[in-house]
């Protein structure tokens, strides 16, 4: 077991190193001047451009830049942003990460919670009107572009009915010294529309996976045995059938996990949510290499780590997948 774990960890680390290297190389191969963000609106004199290239070491060979990046990353120093006047990348990520974590984890919990519930309900009533209606609704929601849904929800619920705020993470004029309860309710109030948007456009995928996995599980011999033993329906459904359907859901969870740190560019943008998604998009748009790499190594870590976690959880839940002693 320990050998298996060590091997799996080594494999994960190798994948991570390969991913980071490929990201670095691909970023440098992409055409575009990283000083563009500094010179787009006002022409930058040639001498100033040269000086800035030297300052940000863009004049160095790519291998030297890569070595610098790795050496810095190992020390926890991800370099400085070009577009943001030399501010440390770690500081930028630190500023934006909490907002993305909050939005991502809440949306992920909501989409899996609702998606699993809907999928299980559909599976238990397969072929019924409820199943078909829920199937159409979830598929429609899944096919809806998030930025469009965000704008529609804002128009209806914020502008027309004033139920929720148009944008931002907090009421801008909220007293910073307001009590924790006031701040918490304000935060939740601002969270409703972005989380609803993200949940609506993604729970359909979870529901469809869950429905298929659950239908397969309900057809297993073990479930028939449980029924003949006279176990309660609720117990059969959740303790036996659902547990057998968890494998594909864990794999799906592993794929969606990056949402927690990568955020959603469109939703963050529509609601002016100050997260990592918009920072990453802006950085890619301006070829701000250090920030792109900073965000990328974080997201890669979560993607690869998420898959490892999903594998481990799957093995823990399904003894058949554990390595033989």
């Amino acid at each position: 077991m320990i050998r298996w774990l060590a091997g799996r960890l080594l494999q994960t680390l190798a994948t991570y190193a390969l991913a980071v290297t490929l990201l670095f190389i691909m970023m440098r191969l992409t055409p575009g001047d990283p000083l563009a963000g500094l010179s787009d609106e006002r022409p930058l004199p040639a001498e100033a451009r040269e000086l800035l290239r030297r300052r940000y070491r863009l004049d160095q060979p790519v291998l030297t830049q890569y070595a610098d990046f790795l050496a810095g990353a190992l020390r926890g120093d991800l370099g400085v942003s070009i577009a943001q006047h030399g501010r440390p990348v770690t500081a930028l990520i630190r500023e934006r990460l909490p907002a993305t974590l909050l939005l991502g984890t809440t949306a992920l919990a909501a989409m899996f919670g609702i998606g699993i519930a809907v999928g299980v309900l559909q599976a238990t009533r397969a072929g019924s009107v409820t199943d078909r209606v829920l199937g159409i609704l979830s598929l429609t929601a899944y096919a809806t572009p998030s930025f469009w849904l965000g704008l529609v929800l804002t128009w209806a619920l914020a502008i027309e009915w004033h139920w929720f705020p148009v944008a931002f993470m907090h009421a801008p004029l909220l007293d910073p010294d307001a009590g924790w309860w006031v701040r918490l309710t304000d935060l939740l109030w601002h969270l409703v529309l972005p989380v609803t948007t993200l949940t609506l456009v993604s729970f359909g995928a979870v529901a469809r996976y869950q429905r298929a996995a659950m239908l397969e599980a309900l057809g297993l011999g073990a479930i028939r045995t449980a029924r003949t033993k006279g176990l309660r329906d609720r117990s059969i459904l959740w303790h036996h059938a659902w547990r057998n359907s968890v494998g594909p859901m864990l794999a799906l969870f592993g794929l969606w996990l990056p949402l927690v740190v990568a955020g959603s560019v469109f939703v963050e943008s529509v609601y002016a949510w100050p997260g990592l998604g918009t920072l990453a998009a802006e950085s890619i748009g301006s070829r701000d290499y250090p920030v792109i790499m900073g965000v990328a190594i974080l997201v890669s870590a979560v993607v690869i780590g998420g898959n490892l976690l999903a594998d481990l959880l799957h093995g823990w839940l399904d003894p058949r997948l554990r390595p033989s002693q």
């Binding site: 055409p31 575009g32 001047d33 990283p34 000083l35 563009a36 963000g37 500094l38 010179s39 787009d40 609106e41 006002r42 022409p43 930058l44 004199p45 040639a46 001498e47 100033a48 451009r49 000086l51 800035l52 400085v80 943001q84 006047h85 030399g86 501010r87 440390p88 930028l92 500023e95 934006r96 907002a99 704008l151 804002t154 128009w155 914020a158 502008i159 004033h162 705020p165 148009v166 944008a167 931002f168 993470m169 907090h170 801008p172 004029l173 007293d175 910073p176 943008s269 529509v270 609601y271 002016a272 100050p274 997260g275 918009t278 920072l279 802006e282 748009g285 301006s286 070829r287």
Partner: protein
Amino acid sequence: MTRPLLGLALWGSLLIPRAALGQASVLPGTLVIAVAREAISPVPTLWASDHPSQEVSDLLFLHLADLGPTLSTTDESSFVPRLARRWTRRDPQTLIFELDPRAQWQDGVPVTARDVVFALERARNPNLSPQLAALLGRIDRVTARDNHRVEIHYRLAYAEQLYDAVFHAPPLPAHLLTGVAPESLATAPFRSRPVGNGPYSITRWEPGKILELTANPAFFLGKPGIHRVVFLPSPDPETRVNLMLAGEVDAVENLYSLPNWHRVEALPAFHYYPVPGLGVVYSVFNQRDPADTSRPHPIFTDPVVRQALVQLLDREVLSRAAYGNLTEVPDAPVSAVLGRAITLPPHLAVDTSLSRRHLAASGWLDHDEDGVLDKNGRPLAFALMVPSVSASRMAMAATMQEAWRRAGVRVQVEPVEPPVYVERRNAGRFDLDLYSVIQDPTPSGLAQSWSCAGIGGSNAGYFCDPVVDTLLAQAGRSLTASHRLYQDAVRRLAEDVPAIFLAAPVNSVPVHRRFANVVLRPESFWAAVWQWRILPGAELERDRR
């Protein structure tokens, strides 16, 4: 709006406040501004290419003097004293500034000549501020004569000495910054909590969320009429529209930067102020072959072709559709602000039949009857490179392509990302581009993009006319004839049609109607917010909080 009317509006907005200051009530108030980009480093010498940072910096740090209502950079009598209460000329190459003794930093320390020297020395150091150093190259030395007098000596006598001294680098608190390593100011705590000498100070800054400024009650030019100014970054223009519709903001930067601006162009809660812009939009004809820049361009070296291509376009319709009804159509690389100072050359109006005749006379005819003009077997076809993120320029490009197609000119629109656009532009790898640039309020910057020396730098189209160079150089050195020389240079440049000059946008800035004495400065919209007031009885809940 016509140019004289706009001029009047600008004059009015600058003059009314002083007359009305005494009449308006003094209330605590809040101005909430939704901005497309947030400030990064609102500290002088750190914001050379970052307009949002300059906007905030101008509320924290006073300049020695501001441009006057005419926005002239050469008329010294039109400048408005700020930190400097007066200036005198010792000789044609030396200016002496006398600081206002009432001015003090927000930590209570008086503003001294040492602070002026500190900021200008920092700005002139090419290792610290490469862009500013290039702009301030004509300053020879800056010395403090005593606590309140600064002497600036220039390398030569020229008309914009005062402008150079006051516009680019407001004083910094030397007593707080001498201990900070010069190259690390951008990351020092001072960047996020600067101590200024202006009407406001930063009281709350959560990057990506909010930047809140609070009035400085000890501001020596008078207590600001608006207690709090809040900048809310909302990069998505749709969000800014929604915030206006929901009444959650009091101002946005420019109506015409919003998508579907017709939706919010007449909201009853807002008054819309026209403000001449510093931007100019144009398509540069690359006069060198993009495949080999040592060779001339196969099409664009002929000025007759260039002029014909311009006159095939209805630039009035094009620019107004993209940049709003107030936009002006220049015939030179001159923003709406610069256009106040420079009389533009005669307008090249749309004339398709004349253009066709000119093209035919140059040998461009449809010999093979395929619908595309050709000459010596070469079709009149080229690519138009456009930054893909600019919706207005993408729309313009499509309209230009269609107008040219009808005349037998085949154009391929090439949308590219901004970094690729800049890279290709700098390398001369394009036929025709669609460029938007912010100019300083001075014509001296023209040399950067339109002189032979600028080739390889900002002169992307390889335009080179020694006469224009001479005129620009003479204008930059002249004490008395600078204005006329710049005008001559611009006229000469325009005659050669090195570009299609499309738009000199005039902004329309929506501001909530409860604000009075509204002054919006073209070079820095919010710099005069401290002179605004809330109309008595019109305050909202957010004004009282």
